[in-house]
């Protein structure tokens, strides 16, 4: 992992990314601790691929998504987007960058301004970046976006509350597509939806990727089945670090990290015949507080196969097989 400008095929590269949040107390805001939400993450996303990020609370996946789009500023490390280092850019310099990437949120209700019409929500990015020549071309583009996501253009003037949850999420997708981004970060886009709606949105995202060519996704979710379904590669995170990074088909068949194995075991498969024969062991203990992570490998207190070295040595993410990276001393 070097810090040179990466090749053209890469849309995003995170190098040793670290994002820390200070804990302050008292009137004078004394710093009493630090939450290392993201603690040394290396990732790349290529054009047109979907990278899945999965993990439980405190793993840092949401923080990463916000940092990539620079809602947060990294404390250390670099964020390279389309060959440009955006880690330290100011708000003004970030504007053209933000045209090229967008964010889809989890909550379909909270992510849309309740007082604006669906059409104006979808078209707002066009206005922000001054991409409209005429009223006519603006309306055409908004209609086109509506159709792209499977919404009826006659609903352009309705407010969000008049749409169902699944439809609101489609509005969010349309908005994300408005300026033709090369990367869309999907932060739990289906978690708040009903089962039947989830499939519709997942299919929509996949169809859009195929149809638009060159569109990359970072897909963040806590549901491992969902992530594996949509992603080409999956990164498993625990307490701010990546513990395993591999192709999604290998994730189920040959997981290497004990946490990945535990995560897989914890997810029941909707098939009683399979479940009957599945030997699964439930992980003990609780996720440690990010304020006070364990020494060495942060997973070692809960790890079924812990080596004495794990208690003080911090494992690095290294390649153990073609395209398969694990951060474990024993892998």
């Amino acid at each position: 992992m070097n810090t040179q400008s990466p090749d053209q095929e890469e849309v995003l590269r995170l190098v040793d990314l670290a994002v820390h949040f200070p804990i302050t107390r008292g009137v004078w805001r004394r710093k009493v601790g630090t939450v290392k939400a993201v603690d040394g993450v290396n990732l790349t996303v290529r054009r047109g691929e979907t990278l899945g990020l999965v993990g439980e609370s405190g793993c840092g996946k949401t923080t990463i998504s916000r940092t990539i789009i620079r809602l947060y500023k990294p404390n250390a490390g670099r964020v390279w987007f389309e060959g440009q280092d955006i880690s330290g850019l100011g708000e003004r310099a970030l504007r053209p960058v933000r045209r090229r990437m967008s964010l889809i949120f989890q909550d379909p209700s909270g992510s849309l301004d309740p007082r604006k019409s669906a059409g104006s929500i979808v078209g707002e990015p066009l206005k922000i970046h001054g991409l409209i020549d005429s009223r006519r071309s603006y309306n055409d583009r908004v209609e086109q976006l509506f159709r792209l996501v499977g919404l009826d253009p006659s609903m352009i003037d309705r407010v969000p509350h008049e749409f169902s949850g699944g439809q609101r999420q489609r509005i969010g997708v349309a908005r994300a597509l408005a300026c033709d981004p090369s990367l869309i970060i999907c932060d739990e886009p289906v978690s708040a939806l009903d089962v039947s709606m989830q499939a519709q949105i997942m299919n929509l995202l996949q169809d859009l990727q195929e149809g638009l060519g060159g569109l990359a996704y970072i897909f963040i979710a806590h549901d491992l089945s969902v992530v594996r379904h949509v992603s080409d590669r999956v990164a498993v995170m625990y307490l701010g670090r990546i513990v395993e990074l591999t192709e999604s088909r290998l994730l189920y068949s040959s997981p290497r990290h004990p946490y990945t194995k535990a995560l897989l075991a914890a997810v029941p498969i909707p098939d009683p015949f399979v479940e009957e024969t599945r030997a699964y062991a439930v992980l003990e203990g609780e996720i440690p507080s990010p304020l006070n992570p364990p020494e060495g490998c942060t997973f070692h207190p809960r790890c079924p196969c812990c080596d004495p070295a794990c208690k003080w040595q911090v494992p690095q993410l290294r390649e153990v097989a073609e395209g398969h990276n694990v951060s474990c001393l024993l892998a």
Binding site: D194, H222, D271
Partner: protein, 340 residues
């Protein structure tokens, strides 16, 4: 499994629950019938709005009234119809918590933030097992140990905010099982928890109900959870059961189009790469203006002439303990069931 003499614990017949809103009456539960036997784990499955949570609240007479009303049906427990009891009368209060207990979705808000964990546990055992004072406190510590809370003697004096989400849920389980009820109802017990915590909770519940010979009802939308833990399933849609049967029957040979639709639209951890999900088209029904015909009709790819004209049918048997509410039996249609 039939033919074996099993004790029937709970017999719910034609339960109906309505909510009166300014826009009309919502028929949340519209003729629900199910049975619960001794020593079994049953799943009630459906998406939001199908009436599964409302039905369980109705069994416990916990429906907020107004705007909700239990407008019909019987809930036979211990030889008596629970719905005949007064909502806050002594009989109902004795049943609630003592013989039928319930755990809810949000563990962090289910506990009173200003009373210690121990205090709340003691309250529960006092009310239903008559254990007060010192024996109550001892029982509270015992319960915490039973659900796997470390350093129980010390933690019994903690407040809910000092416990994590998973630990709060364990406390809820402890409270629920504190007086060895006959039935434990778990309403979406794991939705607010992390995946690994979810697994711990479910395993805990499974082992405890087995130990205490309590029957468990799991209300959920998560098909994986029912596949792993549940022996019999009731699939609900628009306030009624549309398919019921053993877990293997429901997953292995789903006979109702909605059940099949659900199974095909859910991603599986072990699926082959490139499997396409088949979503259920359309949107959930509006429970206010329900036509007399099948509520799933607008979204059903298998409907026939009869479905448009005739009213929604009653449940008919298609196998041993396997019933569906449908004019079309999917056995006659090609059914795909892809396993990786």
């Amino acid at each position: 499994m039939s033919g074996l003499e099993r004790t029937l614990l709970l017999d719910v017949r034609d339960l109906r629950v309505e909510f009166r809103t300014p826009l009309g009456t919502v028929r949340a539960v519209d003729g629900l019938s199910y049975q619960l036997y001794e020593n079994e784990i049953v799943g009630i499955v459906g998406e939001s709005g199908c009436g599964k949570s409302a039905s369980q609240l109705a069994v416990m007479q916990l429906i907020q009234s107004p705007p909700g009303f239990i407008s019909g049906g019987e809930v036979i427990f211990g030889g008596k119809d629970l719905l005949r009891h007064k909502r806050n009368g002594p009989e109902m209060r004795a049943v609630r918590g003592g013989q039928i207990a319930m755990i809810f979705q949000e563990p962090m808000t289910s506990l009173n933030p200003v009373i210690t964990i121990g205090g709340q546990l003691v309250e529960a055992v006092q009310l239903h097992c008559g254990l007060g004072g010192q024996s109550g406190k001892e029982r509270a510590v015992e319960l915490l140990k039973m659900v796997g809370i470390p350093a129980a003697e010390r933690r019994v004096n903690d407040y809910p905010h000092q416990f994590s989400g998973g630990m709060c849920q364990r406390v809820m389980i402890a409270m629920g099982l504190s007086c060895s009820p006959q039935i434990l109802i778990a309403d979406e017990p794991t939705t607010a928890l992390d995946v690994t915590t979810q697994a711990q909770m479910l395993e805990l519940m499974k082992s405890l109900v087995k130990r205490l010979s309590t029957s468990l009802v799991i209300v959920t939308h998560n098909l994986g959870v029912v596949a792993r833990y549940v022996q019999r399933i009731y699939v609900m849609y628009a306030g009624r059961v549309i398919e019921e049967g053993s877990t293997k029957d429901i997953f292995g040979r789903p006979r109702h189009p909605y059940t099949l639709g659900l199974l095909k639209s859910v991603p599986r951890l072990d699926e082959v790469q490139g499997t396409r999900l088949v979503p259920i088209e359309g949107m959930p029904p509006d429970l206010i203006d329900m036509p007399g015909t099948c509520a799933f009709l607008p979204r059903c790819p298998y409907s026939v002439e009869r479905c448009q004209t005739d009213p929604w049918p009653e449940l008919t048997s298609v196998g041993d303990g396997h019933r569906i509410r449908c004019y079309v039996d999917l056995e006659s249609c090609p059914v795909e069931h892809a396993i990786a």
